[in-house]
């Protein structure tokens, strides 16, 4: 009796949960299913929630489009190197901020917070001019550097929170036992930081993977250095009314992020949040 009433009381709660889940997932679901539907089902007056017939034609169109593999590789290369660079640099900076006392520490953190708000859209013209004058136009390292700087401030803020949350006594105990400071950090703090590193790198990954304005502006002449977001947008222009192919291209573009996030769901939610809470 009482458990039944308890269950009844939870009905509105679960209804709200179902509504939220559907609202979150439907666009993703619709993108993927549209990509698998044949054209006559896509352009029909009554859309089917579940595809009756499945086809891979749209994916074939998308993959066979000019330069897909190349742009995919470019995107991966730029994204991974930007994230890795940001992680290494941020690890040093956030360790210095969280664990050491030095003059200028406060000013440094203030600078990081200001950098977090940098108006990247307004900097695109000077960055273009600077990279043109230094011969860095149309080259992937330029993009890598820009993405590195875009993700760095946030990475420092979150990592600082993670490092501050790890009790310093652990390191000190290791140092008392004769570890050097470096070793203490590497063997004690670093493993505990894994969720933090995971969460921040995911954030950087998504930022860099998505970036469009700079990728579109800094790489003009050398078409082989283009990245996936630019490809996707030009694809949409070429295949404008072919919604199946456009959705297949979007799916292929979104897939890495979706898979990685889902696999690391636990780290994203708990790990990332813990860092933000302490930050």
């Amino acid at each position: 009796m009482s458990t039944a009433r308890l269950r009844l009381r939870r009905v509105p709660l679960h209804a709200a949960a179902v509504v939220t889940i559907v609202l979150c997932l439907f666009p993703v679901y619709w993108m993927i299913t549209t990509a698998f539907k044949p054209n006559r089902d896509i352009q029909s007056a009554s859309p089917q929630l579940l595809p009756h017939t499945w086809t891979l034609d749209h994916f074939r169109t998308a993959v066979d489009a000019d330069g897909f593999a190349l742009f995919w590789r470019n995107s991966i290369l730029v994204t991974l190197s930007a994230v890795l660079l940001a992680l290494i640099v941020a690890l040093g900076a956030s360790f210095a901020v969280a664990r050491m006392r030095w003059r200028g520490r406060r000013q440094f953190m203030l600078m990081v917070f200001v950098a977090q708000m940098a108006p990247w859209e307004a900097l695109i013209i000077p960055v273009y001019i600077i990279s043109r004058d230094t011969g860095m136009l149309d080259r992937l390292p330029t993009l890598t550097l820009v993405y590195f700087m875009m993700t760095l401030p946030f990475t420092i803020v979150v990592l600082r929170g993670f490092i501050a949350a790890i009790p310093q006594e652990l390191e000190e105990a290791a140092q008392v036992d004769g570890c050097t400071r470096m070793r203490a950090f590497r063997h004690i703090t670093f493993p505990l930081l894994a969720p933090g590193l995971m969460a921040t790198s995911l954030f950087g990954y998504v930022t860099a993977w998505n970036e469009f304005a700079y990728a579109n502006f800094l790489i003009i002449k050398h078409q082989d250095s283009r990245t996936l977001p630019v490809w996707l947008s030009s694809f949409q222009n070429v295949f404008g009314t072919d919604w199946g192919a456009t959705m297949a291209a979007s799916t292929l573009f979104a897939l890495p992020a979706l898979v990685v996030f889902l696999l690391l769901q636990r780290h994203v939610t708990s790990g990332f949040a813990a860092g933000a809470v302490k930050g």
Partner: protein
């Protein structure tokens, strides 16, 4: 900014930090002294500072310089721009269209941020009240929406709201709103505005909700119990117990959303 946050965040982490923050320590010399001295912190912070100088400060200075010059396509290609002082600023600030755009941008930002914070708080409270299986399902859904790349999401929303074959028009027509049959969402200013707001809210709520939810989990359950024993209503518990405890994170998420939404409206506008 960091100063105020550190102070206001104190209650949330008192339990964790107390041992490290008390300076009463039996062995004050060795480790603590080393922490204060040396070039290490500067070496560790140097790459960040150098990066910021070259990739942020320098372009910003160039941007300011350009803003004081007569700089057009010709100068972009050939160089040698003429210095014109504050003329560009005068042109901009006296232009009525500029102020119109500024007003619209801020209105757009305000609508978005209010919606995001409201929905995200509700979703966070919902996640906290669910059982573990439901919670995992909801968190996974949120994470998937969050992971959706902006360009892919934009494309999908165009498809969802397609005038002829879009599923939104189909559903609305089926529900009896026959005026939505072949409704061209992107042709009307307010309708397109609505879709943009929907898109940004849909993209931003997951991050805010997940962060707020994790802030909620740090609130000690004893506080809720004692409030309930005192007979406080759910609304009052939220106002008197929950919100003050999560306020630092709430403000952090709030300011991040303001920045991100402003930036995004720049991008889409």
């Amino acid at each position: 900014m960091s100063v105020t946050r550190e102070h206001s965040a104190a209650p949330a982490r008192v339990r964790l930090r107390r041992p490290t923050q008390r300076p009463v320590r039996p062995q004050p010399s060795g480790v603590r002294q080393r922490r204060g001295a040396g070039a290490w912190p500067y070496l560790l912070a140097a790459p960040t500072v150098l990066g910021m100088l070259y990739l942020l400060v320098y372009p910003l200075a160039r941007a300011i310089l350009i803003s004081l010059q007569d700089f057009q396509l010709r100068q972009l290609i050939l160089g040698h721009a003429k210095f014109v002082g504050l003329r560009n600023y005068r042109t901009l600030l006296t232009d009525e269209r500029f102020w119109q755009v500024v007003r619209r941008t801020f209105l757009f930002m305000a609508v978005n941020v209010v919606l995001i914070m409201l929905i995200a708080t509700l979703v966070a409270l919902l996640v906290e009240r669910l059982g573990s299986r439901w919670r995992l399902a909801l968190l996974s859904a949120l994470v998937l929406a969050w992971a959706m790349p902006v360009i892919a999401a934009t494309t999908v929303f165009q498809w969802l709201f397609h005038s002829e074959f879009g599923i939104v028009n189909w559903a609305l027509t089926r529900l009896g709103f026959s005026s939505f049959e072949r409704y061209p969402w992107f042709a009307h200013g307010p309708a397109a505005f609505t879709i943009l707001v929907l898109l940004i809210v849909w993209q931003s709520v997951p991050f805010a909700a997940i962060t707020l939810y994790s802030a909620l989990t740090t609130v000690p359950s004893e506080l809720y119990e004692s409030a309930r024993i005192d007979g406080a209503s759910a609304g009052r518990i939220f106002r008197a117990v929950t919100f003050p405890m999560i306020r630092p994170i709430f403000m952090l998420v709030f300011s991040l959303e303001v920045i991100w939404t402003l930036r995004r409206s720049c991008r889409s506008g």
